[in-house]
């Protein structure tokens, strides 16, 4: 198992390098000019200097190498410095955003809590709702509960977040006036009242995201339970007189959770990507919103770094899912 993990980790390095190269090359073709907003009265030689100040003067391969060094060598040093108060990174040039002229990673760090709060809560809520629904739907297959569950998850699959989001805004903010339609990220939780405000503004985005997550995971849970409910070991467990609760919730559930856990792990990075739209609808200024803003402002270092972070998350959670699968299911051996 350990060798498998190590081998996969080693394999992940060239994959990620290749992905970063693909992203870099894609962005190389960008027709947008970061100098487009500079007034026309600025003479061309000054513009050329400004361009060089952004690091655009050198050929592509050198800039790619610099980005790699900055991302993989200097940024971790900055992190270490930040944690331990050392000064490894003093004087080194970091990945600088063209929009704000501040280090990209600083902005990302600022934005992460918002995304984690909203998306993370939604993911947890979605999974917690999905599991019981899936279990009971499978246990009572083709009952009215199962049919309703199927229909609701079909809706969850089919209604895009930009529609369900707008719909809940119309219903709960415009008509009923219960929740604010815009997420206030400057809000600080200090006491019970401010916590309730935070809860109120989180309910709608969490609801929208959780619907999608619930739809997917409950289908997986149901299918996985159905696979196991007809197995011989279940009949054996019943035959030796175990209670129905123990059969379903211990024997069947444990075995059914194996693929579901990996699916849950696999879904984590895609939620970051999928949350782009939800963040846009509710004006949560998290990572997804940062990416949209950077794309619209032609801020290439920011776009490159953010998409690469998404890619790292995907590769990482793929790896985690595979390892989990091997750990949970003794029948699967990778070596």
């Amino acid at each position: 198992m350990l060798t498998f993990t190590v081998r996969r980790l080693v394999l992940a390095v060239p994959t990620l390098l290749f992905i970063s190269l693909v992203l870099f090359l894609l962005l190389e073709f960008a027709p947008g000019d970061p100098m487009a907003q500079v007034p026309l009265t600025v003479p061309p030689e000054v513009k050329e200097k400004m361009r060089e100040a952004l690091g655009l003067g050198q050929p592509a391969h050198i800039r790619f190498w610099k980005w790699l060094v900055q991302f993989f060598w200097i940024e971790p040093q900055v992190l270490v410095d930040h944690i331990f108060g050392t000064s490894f990174s003093a004087g080194d040039l970091r990945v600088i955003s063209w929009q704000t002229r501040s280090p990209v990673m600083d902005i990302v760090i600022q934005r992460i809590p918002q995304t984690l709060w909203v998306v993370g809560t939604a993911y947890v809520v979605g999974v917690l709702i999905a599991l019981p629904i899936g279990i009971y739907s499978a246990y009572r297959q083709y009952s009215w509960f199962d049919q309703t569950g199927t229909f609701v998850s079909m809706i969850g699959f089919s209604v895009p977040p930009f529609f369900s989001g707008v719909l809940v805004i119309v219903v709960f903010s415009v008509n009923l006036g219960w929740f604010p339609s815009i997420y206030d990220t400057t809000h600080k939780v200090v006491d019970w009242d401010s916590f309730m405000i935070q809860l109120r503004q989180m309910i709608m985005p969490v609801m929208v995201l959780a619907l999608q997550i619930t739809a997917q995971i409950s289908r997986f849970m149901r299918a996985s339970m159905l696979d196991n409910l007809n197995q011989d070991y279940v009949r054996t467990a019943r035959a030796k007189g175990l209670g129905e609760r123990a059969v379903v919730l211990v024997h069947v559930l444990r075995n059914s959770m194996i693929p579901v856990v990996t699916v849950i792990a696999l879904g984590v990075p895609s939620i970051f990507g999928g949350a782009i739209i939800t963040e846009q609808v509710f004006k949560v200024n998290g990572i997804g919103q940062l990416l949209i803003g950077a794309i619209q402002a032609n801020d290439l270092p920011m776009v490159q770094t953010l998409t690469f972070i998404f890619a790292v998350l995907i590769v990482l959670f793929n790896l985690i899912a595979d390892v989990l699968y091997g750990l949970l299911d003794p029948r699967i051996r990778y070596d």
Partner: protein, 323 residues
């Protein structure tokens, strides 16, 4: 189907290589208990959701393609005097802030959205089937192509799509005109980023079919690789391809609408369902119903296609069929 027919097991009796019989003549000649496709249709019919989903999808397609012939109000005609009207006989869904008829805009938008969905699906399907068949059939290509598939699966797709829209919009606009250019761009970028699941499923099936006796028999009479793939392999992997086709339409429509919603899709004067929804959010407080129609159209289309795919999967799976 009578009870007597039900007793005849369908698997194993019909030779697998005649998976797609040339209907009519062949059927009279061999007369199997029931042709495979009738069997499939029978199972499909019994799945009520799939039947209604398919019907609904058909109705939506007819509505967006043939509707404009009957309802010939120009979706781009501005009538500023008749702006922001509610539903009436002249404008069943009312008019927007520039007095354009929402009903005809919905049809025009649907035409674009559905066309994008179907074309992008066909592209993704073609790419996916090609990669899947090649990887499954030729052992030499397998490792390389599957690493490529894994690589594409590791890419963050929505951010990548957004970046592609940003980068290639202007060159393509210049080459093909604003509408054609964006159409090509959206279809190609959705197709290029969504072929991987199809490729994986097809490869798995091809690997299994390659080992079957009929392939060996075909090989022994000197069938070339091309003939083998076209006549023996492809017809047998048709069912997973069809299922991913329906699901592909759904994802393509949602992706296109998301792009339009994020302001990176079609230009503002060119209606699609996503664009209509995006424009309507500005008037959310005054006219919430405007958000409702395009959103409902997207959701219904995707819902019907999803149910269709669900039913097809059951109908085409011989293990479930006949139960």
């Amino acid at each position: 189907m009578t009870d007597k027919d039900r007793l005849v097991p369908d698997e194993g009796l019909a030779p697998a290589s005649t998976a797609v019989p040339a209907a009519g003549t062949l059927e009279e000649f061999t007369k199997p208990p029931q042709s495979q496709w009738r069997e499939v249709w029978h199972q499909f019919k019994s799945h009520k959701g799939a039947l209604y989903g398919g019907l609904l999808f058909l109705v939506i397609i007819l509505w967006v393609y043939l509707g404009p012939l009957l309802w010939d109000l120009d979706p781009t005609k501005i009538d500023i005097r008749a702006r922001n009207q509610g539903p009436s006989l002249a404008h069943p869904f009312g008019t927007d802030q520039l007095g354009r008829d929402t009903f005809s805009r919905m049809m025009a938008g649907g035409k674009t959205s559905v066309s994008v969905g179907i074309t992008a699906m066909l592209l993704a399907l073609g790419l996916g089937s090609l990669v899947g068949v090649l990887a499954g059939f030729f052992k030499r290509l397998d490792g390389l192509l599957m690493r490529l598939t894994d690589l594409f699966l590791a890419l963050p797709l929505l951010p990548l799509l957004l970046v592609m829209m940003l980068l290639f919009r202007d060159p393509l606009n210049a080459a093909f005109g604003p509408e054609q250019g964006i159409f090509i761009l959206i279809v190609v970028s959705i197709g290029v980023t969504s072929w991987m699941p199809t490729a994986r499923i097809v490869r798995g099936d091809v690997l299994a079919i390659k080992e079957r006796e009929f392939v060996l028999a075909a090989r022994s009479i000197g069938t070339t690789n091309t003939k083998m793939i076209l006549r023996h392999i492809l017809p047998n992997v048709l069912s997973p391809i069809m299922v991913s086709a329906t699901l592909g339409i759904a994802t393509a429509i949602i992706t296109e609408s998301s792009l339009s919603f994020l302001g990176l899709g079609f230009p503002p004067d060119f209606p699609t369902w996503g664009r209509l929804l995006f424009d309507a959010t500005d008037y959310l407080q005054q006219y919430p119903e405007r958000v409702f129609w395009p959103g409902l159209a997207i959701s219904l289309t995707v819902l019907s296609v999803n149910y269709l795919g669900d039913g097809l999967r059951d109908a085409l799976d011989p293990r479930i069929r006949g139960r």
